[in-house]
């Protein structure tokens, strides 16, 4: 476990001359460059300020999570001499910036977000530095339950920065009102309970599925496919959902049928994942999310200012066709872009960010003052243990158990390089099927055709 403070590693030489741009630059890249010029100048100023207790080196960090508490960052700077310019950038915008800067062969940041879904892409494009030189993958496997999501062909493209699972949540108060006292353990029971909630008038539309054409809809389908006992793509990335008897096909039929039968609110056709949690589930417009995100009970449903169901929503083991289903992993990671200027300092930051004590603090083990908003769970077993032992986060023990025993990578061999285009085909066709613009059979056929085109 990475618990010791890290000594400052001498700064590597930064080339003074920018390398000539080899191919393409876009207007967007130019804008990104201008942002970086601003950063670069502050880094330059910091590197040339060696008086007092000023930092020896400054790194730029761009992550899709809010910054860690200033107190902890200050401690990091005091320990290592590394000052952190932290940029919290919304996930979609961050991916655009990473791509624009990489394609323009421009420096963007020293540490940046590596989402599980981007690992194949970064493996193919070499936009991120493999971390095997700095981290021992074999020794970390037992420590990090979701490390596999960041390894492709033996290359570690990012270090897990959290544990994130697709989990099932239910409003236990609603279930009680419908006379349901035993939590469902199979998909059949789960479906029956949803219908009971609707037919008894407890909740008019009890199920939240975010049917907007966006990533959250794709991952919902993956999780439901896992609950049906399968996976969407084989280890060689061939479709496993084309047969009407396949788990993927049945999962899609279940989702579309749930929408058309009124189990899902009509407005969910345009609703993405987080608005679904905050608008529907947190206000009891729905009573359950089959594929929720780990951490949402503590960060959304139990927050009195944002929720009318405080204390009512709980995690349950995800029901599958034959009992408890696996919980697919959708973790975030952090890595080092190929154009990073301060690689050693970046490695030091990543190790600090992943320290068990810090990870537990980000998730709430030390109380609200050190919480990183929307941070789900610590990335490593020690951090999970610290969090559970703190007793300060509702559902932490259940989630830690699910993470350690039921978590599974969505693509065991790592996400394919063309994952974003595949996901696009999934959510656009699934959205169209729910909207009645095409049948499930047609949606399945279109997605399979896209896989053939991408993998061919």
């Amino acid at each position: 476990m990475l618990t010791k403070p890290y000594k400052h590693i001498p700064e590597e030489t930064v080339p003074k001359k920018a390398s000539r741009k080899a191919g393409s630059t876009t207007a967007v890249a130019l804008a990104a460059t201008m942002v970086v010029v601003g950063w670069g100048s502050s880094a330059f100023a910091a590197q040339n300020s060696h008086f007092g207790k000023k930092a020896d080196v400054t790194i730029n960090v761009a992550i899709a999570y809010p910054a860690p508490p200033a107190k902890l960052l200050d401690q990091f700077t005091a320990q290592t001499g590394i000052k952190v310019n932290y940029s919290y950038i919304q996930w979609d915008n961050l991916q655009t910036k990473i791509a624009a800067a990489a394609e323009a062969h421009t420096y963007f940041a020293d540490v940046a977000d590596v989402d599980w879904s981007k690992v194949g892409e970064y493996y193919a494009t070499k936009w991120f530095v493999p971390l095997n030189k700095y981290f021992n993958v074999a020794s970390l496997q037992s420590q990090y339950p979701q490390l596999a999501s960041f390894v492709r062909d033996g290359q570690l493209l990012g270090m897990p920065s959290d544990v994130s699972l697709l989990v099932t949540t239910v409003n236990t108060n609603d279930l009680a009102k419908a006379g349901i006292t035993t939590m469902p353990t199979t998909l059949m029971q789960y479906s029956a309970d949803l219908n009971a909630l609707k037919s008894k008038g407890v909740v008019q539309h009890p199920l939240d599925i975010p049917f907007a054409a966006a990533e959250g809809l794709s991952t919902y389908w993956y999780e439901l496919t896992a609950a049906y006992g399968g996976q969407v793509l084989s280890p060689s990335y061939q479709p496993e959902f084309t047969s009407p008897n396949s788990p993927g096909y049945q999962a899609m039929e279940w989702m579309v049928s749930a929408y058309k039968s009124g189990l899902v609110p009509k407005g969910n056709l345009d609703l993405e994942d987080y608005p679904g949690f905050t608008q529907d589930e947190a206000h009891n417009l729905t009573a359950s999310v089959f594929s929720d995100y780990s951490g949402d009970v503590g960060t959304i449903y139990d927050v009195p200012s944002d929720s009318t169901v405080v204390g009512d929503v709980s995690y349950i083991p995800t029901p599958g066709v034959k009992g408890i289903a696996p919980n697919l992993a959708n973790p975030d990671g952090i890595g080092i872009p190929a154009r990073a200027k301060n690689v050693n300092a970046a490695v030091t930051f990543i190790k600090w960010y992943d320290e068990a004590a810090n990870q537990a603090a980000f998730a709430g083990a030390n109380g609200p003052s050190e919480v990183v908003s929307t941070f789900p769970l610590p990335a490593n077993v020690a951090g999970l243990s610290d969090l559970v032992n703190s007793g300060k986060v509702p559902g932490a023990a259940e989630l830690a158990s699910l993470a350690e025993h039921h978590s599974r990578a969505i693509f065991p061999a790592g996400a394919p390089p063309w994952y974003p285009a595949f996901s696009n085909a999934v959510y656009t066709n699934l959205h169209s099927a729910a909207a009645g613009q095409e049948s499930v059979a047609s949606a399945i056929k279109n997605i399979a055709a896209q896989v053939a085109s991408l993998s061919g």
Partner: protein, 314 residues
């Protein structure tokens, strides 16, 4: 008063009757160049340079997933026209342009006519009308997503209160043209203030004697609008139309917020974004951008030629 072709170019320039003044050539040295240098650098870096690169790279295969980069001729263009999602986006963008121009110019002209005559509080009304123009498109998309919300949206509530609908309706996503119309309405809400101000400026330039003469001749309000006002504000209408057209052809924020990546109402710009930054097919993204730019410029020139007539009050 005369309305002439733009090409005629009469009515402006130095007054030939004015006494000639002896002029001494000024020697400003480098000062003028220094003064315009920031603008030249700004336009060069942010407009000309990216445009030139876009033209060049539209003909290159640039896809980091399948590299290396190489010359592709018209390969990117043929690929985008074979892509059914691009074809759908082109059709959708045509609808956006049609609705966007009609709504923006229609509402803008209507608002300008209402504000033409002075009245108490006119300045405050003008300030309020301009507010949507100041809001970012994403913010407007979020605001209108609440208005259109099928569960608790204001629009559903209002329509139900008026007994125009029996139960709450799903407005966005159910039908293609309806969805596009409603998203175009959001953008029209944003850009109508600018159109209204452009038309209002033209209205205020019309001499009052012309209306007096029309009144003396017994012209009705409708006839006065048709025969006096509209011909005289034609240049402003041309500018407002071109502005609405350019904005509609480039609609992105509202589509992204209200429609996500559904093909139901995808626009050319949203499709370009996804091809470029999601599929990482930069070459096709450049080609699509170039095509959109050329089409936008061509249509804008056509509209100007069709609508614009110079107005001379002398």
């Amino acid at each position: 008063m005369t309305v002439t072709d733009a090409a005629a170019g009469e009515g402006y320039g130095p007054d030939p009757a004015a006494p000639a003044r002896a002029r001494r050539p000024r020697r400003d040295g480098a000062l003028p160049y220094v003064m315009i240098a920031p603008l030249v650098v700004f336009i060069g870096a942010l407009a000309i340079y990216p445009t030139v690169l876009t033209v060049i790279e539209a003909f290159m295969h640039i896809d980091p997933l399948t590299g290396p980069n190489h010359f592709a001729g018209f390969g990117n263009f043929s690929a985008i026209f074979r892509d059914p999602e691009v074809r759908q986006a082109i059709v959708n963008t045509g609808w956006y342009a049609l609705f966007g121009v009609a709504l923006t110019v229609g509402f803008g002209t209507g608002i300008a006519l209402l504000l033409q005559r002075p009245f108490r509080g006119r300045g405050v009304v003008l300030a309020i009308i301009v507010l949507p123009w100041a809001l970012p498109g994403v913010v407007e998309g979020v605001i209108w997503s609440w208005i259109y919300n099928p569960t608790f949206g204001v629009l559903n509530s209002a329509l139900k209160s008026l007994h125009l609908i029996g139960q709450y309706q799903l407005f966005i996503g159910a039908h293609q043209v309806e969805t596009i119309l409603l998203i175009a309405l959001v953008q029209a809400w944003q850009i109508t203030p600018l159109a209204a101000l452009i038309v209002l400026a033209a209205l205020e330039a019309i001499p009052g004697e012309l209306y007096e003469a029309a009144s003396v001749d017994g012209a009705s309000w409708h006839r006065t609008i048709r025969r006096v006002t509209l011909p005289l504000i034609r240049p402003a209408l041309a500018i407002a139309t071109v502005e609405a057209l350019i904005m509609s052809l480039n609609i992105f924020d509202q589509v992204y917020v209200l429609n996500a990546n559904s093909t139901t109402a995808s626009s050319l710009m949203s499709t370009t974004y996804f091809i470029t930054f999601q599929d990482l097919n930069f070459g096709e993204g450049y080609a699509l951008s170039l095509m959109a730019t050329v089409v936008t410029v061509a249509i804008a020139i056509g509209v100007v030629k069709l609508l614009y007539r110079k107005v001379d009050y002398q």
